[in-house]
Amino acid sequence: MVKEIERAGIPVVHVCTVVPISLTVGANRIVPAIAIPHPLGNPALSKEDEKELRRSIVLRALKALETEVDGQTVFEK
């Protein structure tokens, strides 16, 4: 899906746990997530800390969307 959205002309960031699959399917902007059943959360944390964690991933995704890339890029930080 990510590739078709990109092909349609809309910049897209893929937030996912299994970065290698994302690289294989051809996403250009990739933000690594936490775990497959909870990519943007961590049930082990308190509700507040978990939301803070989620916010940091979303902010990284937004940063990726604001960044010029010339090929597949994984935004680790």
């Binding site: 746990t17 299994v18 970065v19 290698p20 699959i21 294989t24 399917v25 690594p32 936490i34 775990a35 497959i36 059943p37």
Partner: protein, 428 residues
């Protein structure tokens, strides 16, 4: 480690007054069996039925399939860490009731679980249409949490298999097969000129209904490690129930892992079968990296020349498979992979979620997305209703007359990624 596996061929199963094996017939005392499996307050009802090959019977939703076995000589008991104490198993003598299986079924736990048809077109895709099945249908208390439900049913299946297996303890087996794996040094001395081969055994460990247990430990919590192949034959590895039904290994398949059997078959002739590396398929990338690093490291450590790697499941585990393949190949060790495919209902889509150039020797167990039509059956053990929602089913899968049109995915054991079946796929 050396195991004598005694096969007792069972041609018929009947209920009887005493649980025993006599002239190829297994008699089961229903009351005693019920006693052996009951006691869990999480289950309100346990029913037992028999399904035989050729009957017009459908069993669903199937959770696990287990072969009854019993330890005859040597340390430990069957299913260590689950039923028996955690003694090291895999040596001495074990008897197996061949041609019989315990099948657990009943109200759906989550989304998934599978179908076994004892006759008709579905029967040729599942190995369990050829076994005499003692089916145990469990009904949970209302609102039982899914993990609890799964665990309760899992234990019922293992207890039942252990109880029935006891009937084979004092029987002289019809056939005895000897499997032996020496220590590393001995093996090298014995076969100095043969290439060294191991089996990388991937266990699905993705959570509810996608788990596997090793000596009672949830395999998602292990780092890859070594196990003697014969330990597996004594039930050191059991299934945390089956999802997707087609390519999650039921406990029966672990006990009878055909890759282990076929590697033993040519051990000492074409290669030296050194042993088994078990690894997991976890849900974080760090886990995937760590585990695949570790399998590659162990493969190197064992001085291997080649490995067979089998996957369990599909989707993100395809990445675990590719990581294992890539990292082991990078050590100069040859690889052969066993997987199945999700190429779409028309077969025109890409089969695996991940790919790597090093994966140049792949055995496929077929396209799980292919559509299959299952005619209505005279008898249903369990419930038909989940047909629309089990993995591989879709809205409208279940027809009014009781027939089911769904993907092959719904059939228990149909695209076994440990190569249990002859099914494959080819490009047309």
């Amino acid at each position: 480690m050396r195991l004598e596996l005694g096969n007792i061929f069972i041609k018929d199963v009947q209920f009887g007054d005493v649980t025993k094996v006599e002239k190829g017939t297994l008699y089961v005392n229903k009351t005693e069996l019920l006693e052996a499996v009951s006691g869990d307050p999480r289950l309100t009802k346990i029913e037992i039925d028999i399904a035989k090959p050729g009957e017009e019977t459908r069993i669903m939703p199937v959770k696990d399939v287990i072969e009854p076995r019993v330890k005859v000589e040597g340390p430990g008991g069957i299913f260590p860490g689950m039923i028996s104490k955690v003694d090291v198993v895999g040596s001495g003598k074990t008897n197996a009731l061949k041609g019989v299986a315990v099948v657990t079924a009943g109200k759906i736990v989550g989304f998934q679980e599978g179908i076994i048809d004892m006759s008709g077109p579905g029967a040729k895709y599942t190995p369990f249409s050829k076994t005499q099945n003692i089916v145990i249908v469990c009904t949970p208390v209302e609102n039982l949490q899914q993990h609890e439900h799964e665990q309760a049913v899992r234990m019922v299946g293992l207890k039942a298999a252990a109880y029935i297996g006891e009937a084979g303890k004092n029987i002289t087996p019809d056939e005895v097969k000897v499997y032996e794996t020496p220590t590393l040094m001995k093996g090298m001395e014995q076969y100095p000129n043969l290439p060294r081969v191991a089996y990388v055994y991937m266990l699905q460990t993705q959570g509810l209904l996608h788990d596997t247990y090793v000596y009672g430990v949830d395999a998602k919590k292990i780092v890859p490690t070594l196990i003697y192949p014969t330990e597996v034959m004594d039930g050191a590895i059991v299934s945390g129930n089956c999802v997707s039904a087609c390519d999650k290994n039921p406990t029966y398949n672990h006990l009878n892992n055909p890759i282990i059997e076929d590697l033993y078959e040519r051990h000492g002739k074409d290669f030296n079968f050194v042993g088994v590396i078990i690894t997991n398929e976890n849900v974080t990338l760090a886990d995937k990296e760590r585990s695949s690093n570790w399998t590659a490291k162990l493969a190197e450590y064992l001085n291997l020349d080649a490995v067979i790697i089998s996957e369990e499941g599909f989707g993100n585990p395809d990445t675990d498979l590719m990581m294992n393949c890539k990292k082991i190949s990078a050590k100069g060790i040859k690889t052969v992979l066993v997987t199945d495919e999700y190429a779409g209902r028309d077969g025109a889509s890409q089969s695996l979620a991940d790919a790597d150039k090093s994966a140049d020797a792949v055995v496929t167990a077929g396209n799980a997305n292919e559509i299959i039509s299952l005619p209505p059956m005279k008898k249903v053990i369990g419930y038909l209703e989940p047909a629309d929602i089990i993995a591989g089913g879709f809205s409208g899968s279940l027809k009014e007359d009781g027939s089911i049109v769904a993907e092959l995915q719904v059939i228990t054991g149909s695209t076994s990624e440990i190569g249990f079946n002859t099914l494959s796929a080819a490009e047309y």
